[in-house]
Amino acid sequence: MIRVELKKQSVRLRTYVVVALMIGLPILLTAIIRFGHRQDNDRDFFALASQSGINMPLAALTAASTFLLMIVAAVFAGSSISEESNWGSLRYLLLRPISRNTILRSKLSVACLLALSATVLIATSALIAGTIAFGWHPVQTPDGSVFSQTSAMEKLAVSTLYVAWCMAGIVALAFMISSMTDSMMGAVAGAVGLGIVSQILDAISSLGGIRGWLITHYWHAWEGLFANPVSSSDMVNGVLLQIPYVILFLAVGWRWFNRRDILT
């Protein structure tokens, strides 16, 4: 069933576009930094990207995680059930002796796999493009610390997985809505909407401690790995924070889909 689902989702224009985007965008960013005007007063990952090839994926992750990856993840998860409902193929899937749980499990697995692949792809593409453009040097970070290539590569791997995991709540929400509706746009918009609202609220400092519960609050916590001293407590919080969201959204989605009258 997972293979069937993977085949449905992978051999299609949309997935090709996402792959092209995930590979192309870091290359474009690299080219802009390589050939564009340098502005030395900025001290973020972008300004430092030309210092080392390994800086490039860090810049790409910063750029992509707040919006692009969120949309990609929401599209993969949000379309998984609603789209089949819309095509009319969902009822035929359910007219075979396969339990609804198996269908949900396979569809969720494939959506997660695709979202994870997108994140890994963007980091890998940026790493390769960056190394070609700027060479294999130790990494300089915004606060001035320097990490060796080996250490930086380890941190990069952890950061990539962390960024991917941060999408879990969004994926779960998109999946939940997808199990309820035959409108893919509704599912994607719902999940992306939550992500955007959460980021807007997160910018309001007067909200205080509540911000720590926002789904997007710790999305950039991986940057702590590249600070001096290394701080990973926010990352732990970030990993844990996604869990209640995931459990809540998936539980609702599962229950809903199992009790749903299939009318499409």
Binding site: M1, R3, V4, K7, K8, V11, R12, L13, E84, W87, G88, S89, L90, R91, Y92, L93, L94, L95, R96, P97, I98, S99, R100, N258, R259, D261, I262, L263
Partner: protein, 316 residues
């Protein structure tokens, strides 16, 4: 018209009829009853027609029967097994419910393959040859379903039904979107499968189709079963005949004098009249003897008469 009244089917679970619906009821929200206390039994080998006006609850009943919709109350048994979503018994059933549904960006053959292998079954075990024969798509089977016409998609849907060599076929409007030749192919297919012992439940709004291929039928209206029985019993022994004549008034006058013939209705340029097979000859002879020219004698679509009579005769 000799029609047996819809009698409640006794509840005890007897045998393992391909389809047994017991007091199946579906109420959507607080609204109307889509299906109201529907009991029905379809025995092995029957070609059973499900008839009813649009919105009568046919599709809701089919979906409930197959576990896509949860009944508000009542049960559906397929081959004696109580239907739950995704029941194992579905492996013996082939369904086409409310038109086919395919993944548009995959080819026809790829869609069939994914449909079949989603349960873990091996593609080699599928009834591919027969399925492809009914799909009759030639090389188009390798094209994306998105590019198919309505008829092609419908044929692919029928092909999908055949993949598991079903013992029970549930076909909801199977000839919709097909041209007359393809419709005949579908009728032949149903007859052929029925001859091999398969049971068929067919819903259709084309009454002539039901009349031609079904052995039994049920008429549903406003969610309730109105009548059920053999197609012959639903039609009754008499049928309406339309006679095109050169003088309607004289024809009516002549027919009044023929004993045992019911009153004829004027329908210029002819008359319609309910007649048995034997009476037809008598009436034509009487008209001709009286000097009324008879141009055509045409039986009306008989099930249609029965259907309209039954459905319109229902109290609101």
């Amino acid at each position: 018209m000799a029609i047996q009244e819809a009698a409640p089917v006794p509840a005890p679970a007897t045998g393992s009829a391909p389809i047994r619906l017991v007091n199946l009821t579906k109420r959507f929200g607080e609204g109307v009853l889509a299906v109201d206390n529907l009991s029905l039994e379809v025995e092995q080998g029957m070609v059973f027609g499900l008839l009813g006006p649009n919105g009568a609850g046919k599709t809701t009943a089919l979906r409930m029967m197959l576990g896509l919709i949860y009944p508000t109350s009542g049960e559906s048994y397929l081959f004696g097994e109580l239907m739950r979503p995704s029941s194992k018994v579905l492996s013996r059933v082939g369904c086409l419910v409310e038109g086919p549904g395919f993944v548009p960006h995959l080819s026809g053959i790829e869609n069939l393959r994914l449909y079949w292998t989603s349960t873990g079954s091996r593609w080699e075990d599928a009834n591919i040859d027969e399925a492809l024969a009914i799909a009759d798509l030639g090389n188009a089977i390798h094209r994306k379903v998105r590019t198919y016409s309505k008829g092609m998609t419908q044929r692919l849907g029928l092909a999908q039904v055949l993949l598991n060599k079903p013992e029970l076929l549930v076909l909801d409007e199977p000839t919709i979107g097909l041209d007359p030749g393809e419709m005949r192919d579908v009728r032949d297919l149903v007859r052929r499968l029925s001859a091999t012992g398969a049971t068929v439940l067919l819903s259709s709004h084309i009454l002539a189709e039901v009349e031609q291929i079904c052995t039994h039928a049920a008429i549903i209206n406003r969610g309730r079963l109105v009548v059920t029985g053999t197609v012959d019993s639903l039609i009754g022994e008499t049928g309406t005949v339309y006679l095109e004549v050169d003088d309607v008034d004289r024809a009516l006058a002549v027919l009044k004098s023929v004993p045992g013939v019911p009153a004829a209705e004027p329908e210029p340029p002819g008359i319609s009249i309910a007649l048995s097979e034997r009476q037809r000859q008598e009436v034509v002879a009487a008209l001709v003897n009286a000097g009324v020219g008879v141009r055509t004698v045409m039986p009306r679509r008989r099930l249609e008469d029965a259907f309209i009579g039954i459905v319109e005769g229902e109290p609101e």
